[in-house]
């Protein structure tokens, strides 16, 4: 007797990935003993040391359990369970956790399905292996200046593209889409990689080290360890990464703290998106400027420094955390977004986001580098041409679809 375990989606190598947000998994008994109507099966996860862990439930809920008994029809009819990563137990590599099914009566193993709880993590907490995989994928994406990275550089420049990404309410949804597109390009190179974040209200000694994002010298030239993948980084026909010396291994940048970003002066969470998004100046703009010089301090050049993507990953995490704290995930909730009367194209709730909307859209930039938003083998959301509103419910808290990413310290709550 065996149990077939089928997750909703797999990549071309037959691998599947989950976040904290449970997904519908189909179970089916094969070759059940004669005469049985139901087969009691115990679902658990088996983890390598430091590996991910799973939670199980019979409905979509954040209250999954580590050990779940289900009764599967002996005739092979499929049954659904919901499986997600167990909060705060992410994977560090593929296959460090597997979903196991055991016969309750005999204890015999009926199935073992490896997977990965793939989560965006604090860059300062990555293992050396996680860090090196990320750096290698980043370097390949850059391709010595000839890779797909160029499109991401060209999406975030001055002129009309600047108006798409900055200044209005669409700032956060735009950057969420941008990072997701970027992360999926990294995952097309190495599916085990996710985008880490720079927690910029705390010191990050492992991040600002020669082995990771480097240490600037007196000439703003970032120094890396020998053989480091980013030695081959080329942003604008110039080799290397330039960054001012404002943030060292022990620096706590002078930015608004996470708590102050999410809450007002009375310690209450900002009641709506309109109040929350003032964080665009501080901590977001302040984090950029904390380096004191180099491309990362200029809105039209910042992606030339790979640290930019980790900075913005933290900006997005702060939005995600505000959503968690307030429970505001539903795009239909007027508190979830604020379309102001003077909103320009790209910042109204139902506007398609540029550049994924394509070139030659009325009142939008005429070129659109990069094409549509990269798809994922694991999920269909948010679609190739997302709108502002499509970027709000990233975890699928109210909708049926999630976007395939989550943060190590932001839980799924339903």
């Amino acid at each position: 007797m065996n149990v077939d375990i089928r997750f909703p989606a797999y990549d071309a190598q037959g691998r599947t990935f989950v976040t904290w947000r449970p997904v519908e998994v189909k179970l089916r008994v094969t070759a059940a003993p004669a005469g049985a109507e139901e087969v009691p099966v115990r679902l658990t996860s088996k983890s390598s040391p430091g590996g991910g862990r799973l939670s199980f439930a019979t409905t979509l809920t954040h209250q999954g359990v580590a050990d779940l008994e289900v009764r599967l029809p002996a005739n092979g009819t499929e049954q659904t369970v919901w499986v997600g990563g167990s909060y705060q137990s992410p994977s560090s590599r593929y296959g460090d956790v597997s979903m196991e099914a055991h016969d309750v009566a005999s204890g015999a193993s009926l199935a073992s399905h490896p997977l990965m709880v793939r989560i965006r993590k604090d860059a300062n907490t990555l293992t050396a292996a996680e860090r090196d995989r990320f750096l290698e994928a980043l370097a390949r994406l850059n391709g010595g200046g000839t890779g797909p990275y160029r499109d991401f550089r060209d999406m975030h420049i001055g002129g009309p593209p600047d108006d798409e990404a900055h200044g209005g309410a669409g700032f956060l949804p735009w950057h969420r889409a941008y990072l997701l597109d970027f992360e999926r390009e990294l995952q097309a190179i190495d599916a085990e990689v996710s985008l880490p974040y720079w927690r910029f209200d705390a010191a990050a000694p492992k991040l600002f080290a020669a082995a990771f994002m480097g240490v600037p010298d007196r000439f703003m030239q970032v120094r890396f360890s020998p053989g480091h993948p980013l030695l081959n980084w080329v942003a604008m026909d110039r080799r290397g990464v330039e960054r001012g010396g404002g943030v060292g291994p022990n620096t706590v940048p002078r930015v608004v703290s996470e708590e102050a970003t999410l809450h007002d002066q009375n310690g209450d969470p900002h009641p709506d998106f309109a109040a929350f998004r003032e964080m665009q100046f501080n901590p977001h703009g302040a984090a950029h400027m904390s380096h004191r010089g180099g491309p990362i301090t200029d809105p039209t050049r910042a992606p030339q420094d790979p640290l930019f993507f980790l900075l913005h990953c933290n900006v997005d995490r702060l939005w995600a955390k505000w959503q968690w704290v307030t429970g505001i995930h539903d795009p239909a909730d007027p508190r979830a977004y604020d379309e102001t009367v003077d909103a320009w194209p790209g910042h109204r709730t139902n506007d398609l986001l540029w550049p994924w909307c394509g070139p030659d859209q009325p009142d939008r930039p005429p070129q659109a580098p990069g094409g549509v938003l990269r798809d994922s083998p694991i999920t269909r959301a948010p679609g190739p041409r997302p709108r502002v509103i499509d970027m709000i419910d990233y975890l699928g808290t109210v909708s049926d679809e999630h976007m395939g990413f989550a943060y190590d310290d932001v839980a799924f709550l339903k």
Binding site: D132, G145, G267, P295, P299, F412
Partner: protein
């Protein structure tokens, strides 16, 4: 712990820790500026905390422009104002009305008596490809005027404009400049196919500094991939060569395109195994391992 309970605790902690603070206002800045002791540290703090929300934005930016331009104020205060103007720039639509004044201010600061202010101003101007800033930097490098910034910084800043006309100057400086200038000039020539000969010469010269050879090798991998492939193979396997250069060459092969990958034959892979076993350098081992994986992937593909 249940996620809902965790959320409740997080909210309770935020409430308990809340301490009403007032963002600094323009009036606070005026008070510090006119105080007898002229407390620069407190003024810098007030500048960093200056509110840039919609209601205060215009007044704040005008005040910051005034502070940065004021020669009687301490340098650190003026630098703090420039930094906060950089924050204000992250709202392009609101900042648009101040853009012309900002550029004019930066251009004045580019020739300020204080070196740090000059460097900060030129940093911001060259990120915007400002032609007047570029002219000052070229004049500095050609020694047609007193240097506005150290020469290595001038090269670095000039190189930010990839449509600029400074390539011939960079080629010259990569050969003849002092140490730091040569390094910056080589970085600036990353995509210059006309410099392939120079790159190959520097990359293979064991008397050159490893840092320069590293840059030259990486540049060659882009400028002339076939020449790089030939050179890199020798360098990677040469146990008498500098670990740093070998590591850079190995990584460049692993991360680069098809020309270099053609060398990844089974025979070469075996030689890599021997090279990895012979070295104590962790960085070199790591780079060789990366190259071995690339070779294995090519063999499978």
């Amino acid at each position: 712990m249940d996620s809902e309970e965790q959320r409740r605790q997080y909210l309770a902690q935020a409430k308990a820790a809340a301490a009403p603070t007032r963002a600094a206002s323009v009036r606070d800045l005026a008070a510090y500026a006119t105080a007898e002791a002229g407390d620069a540290a407190r003024m810098c703090e007030a500048i960093s905390a200056l509110s840039l929300d919609k209601q205060n934005y215009q007044e704040a930016v005008r005040a910051l422009l005034g502070i940065a331009a004021q020669p009687s104020l301490e340098r650190d205060v003026r630098l703090a104002a420039l930094q906060q103007l950089g924050v204000a720039e992250f709202h392009p639509k609101r900042f648009a009305e101040f853009h012309a004044d900002y550029i004019e201010l930066l251009r004045r600061l580019a020739t300020d008596p204080d070196g740090k202010l000059r460097e900060a101003a030129l940093d911001r101007l060259t990120l915007k490809n400002d032609p007047e800033a570029q002219k000052l930097l070229e004049q500095t490098l050609r020694k047609e005027r007193k240097a506005v910034v150290p020469h290595a910084v001038a090269v670095q800043f000039l190189a930010r404009d990839n449509h600029g006309s400074a390539l011939p100057l960079f080629r010259e400086l990569a050969e003849t400049g002092p140490r730091a200038v040569r390094e910056q000039a080589l970085q600036a020539l990353a995509s210059d196919s006309k410099s392939a000969g120079l790159f190959e010469r520097i990359a293979t010269d064991k008397d050159e500094r490893p840092a320069l050879r590293e840059i030259a090798a990486l540049n060659l991998s882009q400028a002339a991939p076939a020449r790089f492939a030939k050179m890199a193979r020798q360098v990677v396997l040469d146990q008498s060569d500098a670990d740093r250069v070998r590591a850079a060459a190995a990584s460049a092969i692993a991360l680069s395109g098809s020309d270099a990958k053609r060398m990844l034959t089974p025979k070469f892979a075996k030689a890599l195994d021997a090279a990895g076993a012979a070295t104590q350098s962790r960085s070199l081992k790591s780079s060789l391992d990366r190259l071995r994986r690339a070779a294995a992937a090519k063999a499978e593909g």
